[in-house]
Amino acid sequence: MRRLRADRRAVSVTVGYILMLSVAALLLGVVLTGAGGLMETQSQQVISDELTVVGNQLASNIHEADRLAVVGAADAESSGDEPTVELTVRLPQQVAGTGYLVEIDRETIVLSTSNPDVEVTVRYPETDTTLASTDRVAGGDLRIVYDADDDQLEVRS
């Protein structure tokens, strides 16, 4: 017993460990918290940018289909035969690792993700051919089809 009391080395090591672990835990906690917050902000920014690009891609393809539909409809007026316009838009399934939804209504494309909660609105100039409103469809490849009977464009998943 006397020998144990006289030995100061163990005490020093224990205190040293406790101090070291406390400081390490504090430091790591701060690093993790900071990095987590930064990650969330950057993640939202990247998702927002990517949704904007996706929306613009979709808008330019809508106008592409519109031009073809106008040409086809003009031909149909003189020939009487309905045209076929079907255009596939290759969009990513996910943005920054998360799925997204697309909704189109009145020259406006709304793209949204739920985790994190990001919503981007892309507006585009009015098309000559009416574009039917589209309920929310999952992101990924979309098809733009011209419906000659109703003289309108439709976006389908």
Partner: protein, 333 residues
């Protein structure tokens, strides 16, 4: 020997101490978990950062890339086909016999070229037609006499009818000698040379053609609806040489310049009759292609012609399908 025995003893005591330390450390392994878990968390964060960076770079890449389908190429193909067949029809009408069969054979010869040309670009383009979809017509020409412009009064003293009971007409052009025209202003042009369009239900429309009194060497066209005061549509500078008036194409041209009339020269309705009116000393030629079943003036030369052709054009890529049926009647308003 004793020295070696001492070393062995020391080693033996060292091993026993190492064993003690090992026992102590294995009994307190939980201390390392903090570092391990934190390292894993940091690793996940770093991987996510790498993924986000990758996504951002990819987004920038996609944003600067052309991601639209081949819409312009499809429209270009249609335009090329329509232009080619238009020229083919007009060449056949003006320089050939106006034969439907000849035009049909030429379209058949054109189809494989369209296929091959598009195949080079990795796309599928097709041109096809139904022989029944080529319509015949008649090319009416008020021609030159011995290479000189012909006086319009040769066919009738004051007014004469170019074509009556008209169904459809296209490529209506008049070439006129401007130095034979009366000089006046738009408002006073109601009594000068003109081309009158009429049908049973709509108001008559007359295009009066005159030398503009306010400008030098300037031919102008004005429109009078149902005999009311004419309104100027457009005009063109000329050096005294012949001026071509493309009435279905809304264009005036000389050898040196072309003027597009932004207001249509052809009437909004389908006329039954086309007449030349208020003829004085005007000289020139006229040409129009009409579909079947119409009457025309005796002074006009008539030849068989192809009025229109209807063709199916398709353009396909992995992302685009475009199919259209185009009726090609060159110069139809």
């Amino acid at each position: 020997m004793q020295y070696l025995i001492n070393i062995k003893r020391r080693l033996g005591s060292g091993r026993s101490r190492l064993a003690e330390i090992k026992t102590a450390s294995t009994s307190r392994t939980e201390r390392a978990q903090l570092l391990l878990i934190t390292a894993l968390a940091l690793a996940v964060i770093l991987v996510t950062v790498a993924l986000l960076l990758n996504a951002a770079i990819f987004t920038e890449n996609v944003a600067t890339r052309d991601t639209t389908a081949d819409g312009p190429e499809a429209i270009e193909l249609r335009g090329e086909v329509v232009q080619g067949i238009s020229e083919l029809i007009e060449t056949e009408n003006h320089e050939g016999s106006g034969s439907l069969t000849a035009v049909e054979e030429d379209i058949d010869a054109m189809a494989p070229m369209v296929d091959r040309e598009r195949a080079r670009e990795g796309t599928v383009g097709t041109l096809s037609h139904d022989p029944n979809d080529i319509e015949s017509g008649t090319l009416l020409r008020y021609n030159e006499t011995d290479g000189d412009a012909r006086a319009f009064s040769e066919a009738g003293s004051n007014n004469w009818t170019l074509v009556d009971d008209l169904g459809s007409a296209r490529a209506f052009t008049v070439a006129i000698e401007p130095n034979r025209l009366n000089a006046t202003t738009a408002e006073s042009s109601g009594d000068v040379f003109g081309i009158r369009f009429s049908n049973a239900t709509e108001d008559d429309e007359t295009l009066h053609i005159y030398e503009d009194d306010n400008k030098e060497n300037h031919l102008a066209v004005a429109r009078a609806v149902d005999g009311e005061t004419p309104e100027r549509l457009c005009g063109i500078e000329h050096g005294g040489a012949s001026v071509d008036i493309d009435i279905t194409g809304d264009r005036l041209s000389t050898d040196e310049s072309v003027v597009d009339c932004h207001r249509s020269l052809w009437p909004d309705y389908d006329p039954d009759r086309i007449e030349f009116v208020n003829i004085d000393e005007e000289e020139g030629t006229a040409s129009v292609t009409v579909d079947e079943g119409t009457d025309w003036a005796a002074a006009v030369t008539d030849t068989e012609a192809v009025y229109s052709a209807t063709v199916d054009i398709s353009y396909q890529t992995t992302d685009l399908t475009f199919e259209t049926t185009a009726r090609i009647a060159p110069g139809e308003p």
